[in-house]
Subunit: 396 residues, 2 copies
């Protein structure tokens, strides 16, 4: 069976289990996941029977790409009646209760839901985002293949960047070079994020205290950025000798992202930062030893937190003070902020097919951020490391 159709089938199993009559998928990434096409429209998945992708634009292109049956959306005003006549068992006019449909409430704008409510007044809408995110959490070998390829490309970009890095080069110059390199190799130009207001292009280059500048971005290192209108990632600060250069980068190949971090220095670092860097590698090794089917995702975070505290670095772990983030890692796939999150409150047992970026980092205000990040696919016996860049503090 085609992989997209298998995913639709798994979605249907979940709908049945949760007694939901159907699901309306609208977000571009989810549409791509379930149909194989990212054209604009509405994918309707009844809990039983055939799904249909109602396409607004471009129908021709969707027909070429989609594994799910495509129909032109036509007039949105009559969409409700059309659905009701196509799916009589779902929209039974004789039924006494409302039809229960799920939608991706985590990304669907209120205005879009209200438009759907207008044409489908008989529907009670419920939040289907966790269903979709949990399905997407387990990757197929094909999906892992794309992430592996992204890992190969980001390593080439990283080595190229190292060969160009020199004192006085700005963060932005190095970042531009990395972006140019991955773009040439098929990076789609940004890494998609699901979180409201979150943006990431290709990651960040952050040198010295600039990397430790706190910001809104949901990550341990924010970066200074170019302007208050883009307050994260690389800035115009020249890179100096003997300061940590955090290179936290990724790319998106065929829709799938990779995420990795390495710490680089031109010269050497003060002893305490060297020690902290060593600690970040110790943490990742210790976490790796627990990367097995069955381990509970939040336990990995709690474990890393214990190690950081035991090393006397608790205040510096994953950001500093009020600007700390409360996670150790996150799922990656079509988006950079997928499940499972390695954080309190996420009690997913690890499972074959999960792909997780793990990023123990330490922030030293006024001085910089150091740490390491690898992406891993969980296997039956442990993990495959999808990040292939050399490890250790990289001294130039």
């Amino acid at each position: 069976m085609n992989e997209n159709l298998e995913r639709v089938h798994r979605l249907q199993e979940r709908l049945k289990k949760q007694q939901i009559d159907g699901c309306m998928i609208t977000q571009n990434v989810d549409l791509y996941y379930f149909t194989g096409s990212m054209q604009a429209g509405y994918l309707f998945v009844p809990k039983e029977g055939n799904a249909v992708f109602f396409v607004r634009r471009s129908v021709i292109r969707a027909e070429r790409e989609s594994a799910v049956t495509v129909e032109p959306l036509g007039s949105f005003r009559s969409f409700g009646e059309r659905l009701a006549s196509l799916y009589r068992s779902v929209f039974d006019p004789a039924a006494s209760h409302k039809v229960k449909l799920a939608a991706e409430f985590d990304v669907l704008p209120v205005q879009q839901l209200k438009r759907l409510e207008t044409v489908l007044p008989q529907v009670e809408w419920v939040d289907g985002s966790m269903i979709v995110r949990e399905l997407r959490m387990i990757k197929s070998p094909d999906e892992i293949g794309h992430i592996r390829e992204a890992g190969r490309i980001i390593n080439l970009a990283f080595e190229d960047a190292l060969s160009k890095l020199h004192i006085g080069m700005t963060e932005l110059e190095l970042m531009s070079r990395i972006e140019w390199f991955v773009r040439q190799h098929g990076h789609i130009g940004l890494m998609r994020m699901r979180g409201y207001n979150q943006e990431v292009i290709t990651g960040m280059v952050g040198a010295g205290e600039a990397a430790a500048t706190p910001t809104y971005f949901d990550g341990p290192a924010g970066g200074q950025g170019l302007t208050a209108a883009s307050p994260q990632s690389a800035g115009r600060r020249p890179i100096a000798a003997n300061e940590p250069i955090l290179i936290d980068i990724g790319c998106c190949i065929d829709g799938y992202v990779i995420d990795q971090t390495r710490t680089v220095v031109i010269g050497t670092l003060p002893d305490d930062l060297l020690e902290a860097y060593g600690k970040s590698e110790q943490i990742i090794r210790s976490v790796e030893s627990r990367l097995l089917p069955g381990t509970i995702s939040e336990q990995l975070y709690m474990h890393s937190l214990q190690l950081a505290h035991a090393a006397g670095l608790g205040d510096h772990f994953m950001g500093y003070g009020d600007d700390q983030v409360k996670f150790l890692g996150h799922g990656i796939g079509l988006e950079i902020d997928e499940l499972p999150v390695l954080a309190k409150g996420f009690s997913y047992p690890l499972q074959r097919g999960m792909v997780i970026a793990i990023e123990p980092k330490f922030t030293f205000p006024g001085r910089g951020v150091i740490g390491i990040e690898n992406s891993y696919a969980i296997t039956d016996t442990g993990f495959e490391k999808l990040t292939v860049s050399r490890e250790g503090l990289i001294q130039l």
Copy 2:
């Protein structure tokens, strides 16, 4: 008065006029517009009195950037009670009716609204997106200055691209070069779009039939893209002689975008495409003569449509067949899809301070897209052209 605070004041005037008690701003771009900071949080604007930016992260950075008073958000669970005690006149417990608050329903995810509903059960939420978008439609001299600067930079990038363009170069290679160039000059890495599911990095390079490939993107030329997971913009197609090369690019400088298109050919074009290109310039000249305060935005679209039909090119105008888009241009500013839209149903009289990208284009399936696009600021007597690149079909 500080420009951000003036904007908050204008928002309050609109709230009073529409009898709305206050507004909760949450989207990153709107937060930046009203406060000067893009940190994460909630900006509460009562219809009278002081606005407060309740910041989740980073408070330190928001305090440095925001013109509006910053307070730490603290526990979201007690946010409702806190607001009620800070704004007693808005949240009057003795009032018999609900408190009416506006939010940006066009971008606010359903889940976020539901969270707000939980902590503010006494509120009736209404859609404030048109209020915000209409305020943002009129730019200050300072905002126009940023767009002018973006126009200067994109012209440098365009001339650089022309100097590198050669037969056999792929669309992606040329696009990567343009992106590298603008990034070095301060492009934040993407151009923000407000529309659900819409993405644009730096625009597109589309050569020959690849440019005419229809796609979901709300523009007259889609492009082939790299994969079904990013079905727009540049692809891996090598550029050939004697075919139209559509270079529709922009950048985002200090938060503000510019948008321009030029048509280039290595060699020459067939007569009918040459003629169509000439027609696109005739249309833009004719539209320019109507770019004056008072002209109704939709009339510019209707006028261009008439000209295209009179030239026998109606079927090719702004896309082809079912994949045509129904507009001639769009406002630009912090986002690429701002008001006014030059389309049916948008009856804004042009006004000083509007900035509009106007893009008459013709699509020839299997052959390519030709056309021109300039961005204009409306002045008291007409317009200032913010696009400074040379016009005419560019033959190399």
